[in-house]
């Protein structure tokens, strides 16, 4: 697990914290009735409130509050019944009011935690400091005109959750696992679609390095990284840069940086000296946000089964190892697929087939579970043929491949292609005799003690039977004969 950068002065440990901006799934924006839908023509979803017109006032959207509370519950976090909105003041062309309404001093959600799963199968708890509600800014388009910048305010005022982690992560892998798990939780809850490419989930990464058992050193923030892979790469690049700075005898300066994936390096965006003074103060247009415990309880009782609970259930009910269960629950659709597949079948075999050949097949086709040519029931049909020994495992792989290509059911493929397993011992014995007769030299070697050649004979017999021989019976026949 330990991830160490070996510098000239010895090993360095990484310290990583993440701030995730997650766009809330809601029909309307946080403080206006305008639609929050993605992808509409520029400036077609803008109310006078969003555009910061004179005399316009914000009115909180209760559904956005509910989504934040649901997410907080999904993070096992403290829900604050009283929270407050502040103004974060700065000038930018796509920030119509000249301030962003956010929750600075009193967020709606307090401390929580996220369990992450590592490749090693190990799990770790990562602390969540807080989750607060805020409005998104619009978009500046600098590439539409040689001299002018264009502004699209469709996104202005859309509800965001800012989810801040503790500086608990120590490796790029942990940061990646944290982001994936957070995304999984929000997708289960239906509170954020987690689509980093469309920008509905964005990450700011705080990175510092230190020697073992030291206090934290100065950190840098890498803004707006837009994929899990880039987050992991950015951490690595930034950590190496910081090690180089420290080891050159200089000190890392606290600053905001940008990650350039093409060069795999981070670049300074602005230093602490020209950091904004946001002049936060309570927004006088909004009363404190007061919610009732009973309302929170109602939301809690309406939550779906969450990833960790599902994982535990998969392990106990289907006898899956933690890692397999962890992978299967990553996406709700995958978990649902698995449950249909495993129903009335051997859970472990179902998991092995799904995680192995089935996913490999989907990858080859460039498809996801949602548009798979093979349904869970169809894949189950294949497993049933395997279970009742109609086909053997090797043939099953070929049948699955054919199913992925044609979309036909397993039984039809087995029938039309004559792939039924041969259990007729007469036919098997005949094939054995044929193989032995064709390989007198190998037979002699085997007899003189080269036991490893048993596998060669199994392979030759199966080949002679076009792969359809029952492997156990072929083994038996060969053992008897040899």
């Amino acid at each position: 697990m330990s991830y160490i950068i070996e510098g000239a002065t010895g090993p360095w440990e990484l310290v990583i914290g993440l701030e995730v901006h997650a766009q809330i799934i809601s029909r309307a924006k946080l403080f206006s009735g305008a639609s929050a839908e993605y992808g509409a023509p520029p400036n077609s979803q803008v109310s006078f409130v969003d555009a910061g017109f004179p005399g316009m006032l914000p009115v909180i959207n209760a559904e956005c509050v509910a989504q934040a509370v649901r997410t907080g519950l999904g993070l096992n976090a403290q829900i604050n019944l009283v929270s407050r909105f502040d103004r974060k003041n700065y000038f930018y062309a796509d920030l119509p009011q000249g301030y962003q309404i956010s929750q600075f001093a009193h967020p709606i959600v307090g401390k929580g935690e996220i369990e992450i799963l590592l490749e090693s199968g190990e799990t770790r708890q990562i602390g969540v400091t807080r989750l607060h509600l805020e409005q998104d800014a619009g978009k500046s388009l600098h590439d539409q005109d040689p001299a002018l910048s264009f502004i699209d305010l469709n996104r202005a005022g859309v509800a965001l959750m800012e989810i801040v982690s503790e500086p608990d992560m120590r490796t790029p892998e942990e940061a990646g696992a944290y982001l994936r798990k957070l995304r999984t939780i929000m997708r289960y809850l239906g509170t954020c679609d987690g689509n980093m490419e469309e920008g509905s989930m964005r990450a700011d990464v705080n990175v510092s390095v230190r020697k073992a058992d030291e206090e934290f050193r100065t950190r840098c923030e890498i803004k707006n990284v837009n994929s899990v892979r880039f987050v992991m790469q950015a951490i690595e690049a930034e950590a190496r840069r910081q090690v180089a700075v420290w080891e050159s005898g200089e000190a890392v300066q606290q600053e905001t940086r940008l990650y350039d994936p093409a060069r795999s390096e981070t670049r300074s965006m602005r230093s602490k000296e020209d950091a904004h003074d946001y002049r936060y103060f309570p927004d006088p247009d909004l009363l404190p946000l007061v919610i009732e415990q009973a309302w929170v309880d109602g939301l809690a009782s309406g939550l779906p089964e969450l990833p960790d609970a599902k994982k535990a259930r998969f392990m106990s009910r289907y006898g899956l190892p933690a890692y397999d269960a962890g992978v299967l629950i990553m996406e709700q659709a995958t978990a649902d697929f698995y449950e249909v597949l495993a129903e009335g079948r051997d859970g472990k075999i179902a998991a092995n087939w799904m995680l192995g050949d089935f996913f490999a097949g989907l990858n080859r086709l460039g498809r996801g579970i949602g548009d798979s040519p093979v349904s869970a029931a169809a894949l189950g049909g294949l497993l049933d043929l395997l279970a009742d020994a109609t086909i053997n495992g090797r043939i099953a792989k070929d049948v699955l491949e054919a199913m992925m290509e044609t979309g036909e059911p397993a039984a039809a493929i087995v029938e039309s292609r004559g792939l039924r397993q041969v259990t007729d011992t007469g036919a098997i014995d005949a094939a054995v005799e044929k193989v032995l007769a064709a390989n007198p030299d190998k037979l002699a070697e085997y007899k003189s003690g080269k036991q490893k050649l048993f596998g060669f004979f199994v392979g030759q017999v199966m080949k002679a039977m076009a792969g359809k021989g029952n492997p156990a019976l072929v083994n038996d026949a060969l053992k008897r004969r040899l």
Partner: protein, 495 residues
């Protein structure tokens, strides 16, 4: 003509319903008055004769059918801080000079719903920041009152000076104002009319150009307490589009005017005996207390110990909020834009050209008090003092039903006076600011004249959402004072 323009709103309503006058005649008379007086007073930034006459005709139609809302055919002036659909709304600022809102403020929408006729948009201090209506980008409004034997131009007070001057001079039967630290009550006092600031949250702020959101509150001007009550009845009420407006029933304010003051306990806050206040204002205050005692009220000495911190608190909180509220005037989406090479230049050029000196001063003060390193010493401290001032009022209203104070520490002053010293100008609001900070309602009622013949008002302050008692006390003062003096510049005076 003079008779027509001497109507009260209540009187005009009766005449309209009795068909002794039509809404068109009433509106035409007021438009003629505006034409005659505007060159002297400059009370309006925009006059809208066509829409006014169309509204008057609509009112006549409704009245003829036996319909028509409570304000059918009543000509009003609207402070140019209320956004009016399709009618330019400037906030008295160069930066909004070309701005025509595509929406209607809730308060004006409700007045229109009740049949009111809007004559035009009244002048004001730029973004409602001022106490004299001299900071308007559209020139100062002149007070219709003059000192005896002098034609020195006086200010009407502010920031709602155009609204006050229009009603005082007979150019409108009533008007809307907004009060952040005294912007309705002080000009009412300077112009010899009634001005009411309701409880914070009583009238919706939706569509009102914001100055200081936690203090701004719309309210009416009129020539009588009852008229102000009638107007507030239309303006008030819960608005789901303003999260700070209260969902609280709107009572019959006009009926409350007739309640009398028998048995009421009226507090006299000792801290309002300000140093250097003219003796005639002290005397008028005492006179007001005597009137109320004679009408059956009990007078009680009370203390609002944090009063002396009121102005300082106000001049931190209000600029802080304004510095943020006015950030949206950036030349990007509406209003003035000065073309520039890059975004920073666009902001700087536009805002430098668009904002006047007083607005710039307050943005700078507000930015300063919210800055890192100064926030705790200024803004946070001011919020704590604000809580103490609120507590002063809560405590005192455990003992009394209302308070009586002077409205302002002086009568109207000359245009150009107090201009060199912003702090001296700010002192105009010393008696009005505490009620704003506490969010309680207050009314200014004309009670007498000073030695120069200028009007002076008395202020009644009441409990949260108890405008009814404020109107009742105001009516008692009005009845006792029998204030009948008229300004020098008014309809008829020029004929």
């Amino acid at each position: 003509m003079t008779d027509t323009l001497d109507f009260t709103i209540a009187g005009a309503r009766n005449a309209l319903r009795a068909k002794t006058i039509s809404a068109r005649e009433l509106t035409e008379a007021h438009l003629a008055a505006i034409e005659a007086l505007e060159p002297s007073l400059n009370a309006f930034i925009t006059v809208t004769p066509e829409t006014a006459l169309a509204a008057a005709d609509a009112a006549d139609g409704a009245l003829a059918r036996g319909e028509g809302g409570p304000l059918a055919g009543i000509p009003l002036a609207i402070k140019d801080l209320f956004c009016t659909n399709g009618i330019r709304t400037t906030a008295g600022s160069r930066i909004l000079e070309p701005f025509v809102p595509p929406y209607e403020s809730t308060v004006t929408r409700q007045l229109l719903r009740d049949g009111a006729v809007f004559l035009g948009k009244a002048n004001l201090d730029e973004f409602a920041m001022g106490s004299s209506t001299t900071t308007s980008a559209f020139g100062p409004t002149i007070n219709p009152w003059q000192r005896q034997g002098s034609n020195t131009q006086l200010v009407p007070g502010g920031s709602s000076g155009g609204s006050a001057a229009a009603v005082a001079s007979g150019m409108a039967l009533g008007s809307t104002g907004t009060d952040t630290g005294g912007s309705i009550r002080q000009p009412a006092s300077f112009c010899g009319i009634v001005g009411m600031k309701p409880t914070y949250g009583r009238c919706s702020r939706f569509g009102v150009v914001a100055f200081a959101s936690s203090l701004d509150q719309p309210g009416p001007f009129a020539r009588t307490v009852e008229d102000a009550a009638i107007l507030l009845g239309s303006m008030a009420g819960h608005d789901p589009r303003d999260s700070t407006s209260m969902d609280w029933p709107v009572p019959d304010y006009a009926a409350a005017c007739r309640r009398g003051v028998k048995g009421l306990r009226i507090g006299v806050p000792r801290e309002y005996h300000a140093d250097g206040m003219p003796a005639e204002i002290e005397r008028l205050w005492q006179q007001g207390l005597d009137w109320l005692r004679d009408a059956g009220a009990e007078i009680v000495d009370v203390s609002l110990p944090h009063t002396k911190y009121g102005l300082a608190t106000y001049y931190i909180v209000a600029p802080a909020e304004c510095s943020s509220n006015l950030a949206r005037y950036d030349g990007v989406r509406f209003g003035l834009r000065v073309p520039a090479q890059d975004l920073t230049d666009l902001y700087e050029e536009t805002r430098a050209a668009g904002f006047g000196a007083e607005v710039r001063r307050r943005i700078l003060i507000g930015t300063y008090v919210l800055s890192a390193g100064y926030y705790d010493a200024y803004y946070l401290k001011a919020q704590k003092v604000r809580a103490l001032i609120l507590k002063d009022f809560t405590d005192v209203f455990g003992q009394v039903d209302a308070l009586l104070t002077p409205t302002a520490p002086s009568a109207a002053f000359g245009v150009g006076e107090n201009m060199d010293d912003p702090v001296k100008m700010y002192l105009n609001d010393v008696f009005t600011v505490p009620a704003s900070i506490a969010g309680v309602p207050g009314i200014s009622v004309p009670a007498g004249l000073d030695g120069d013949g200028l009007p002076l008002g008395l202020q009644v302050i009441g409990k949260h959402f108890d405008e009814e008692t404020v109107f009742a006390v105001g009516q008692a003062l009005e009845s006792a004072a029998g204030f009948s003096a008229k300004p020098q510049i008014r309809v008829g005076s020029l004929r």
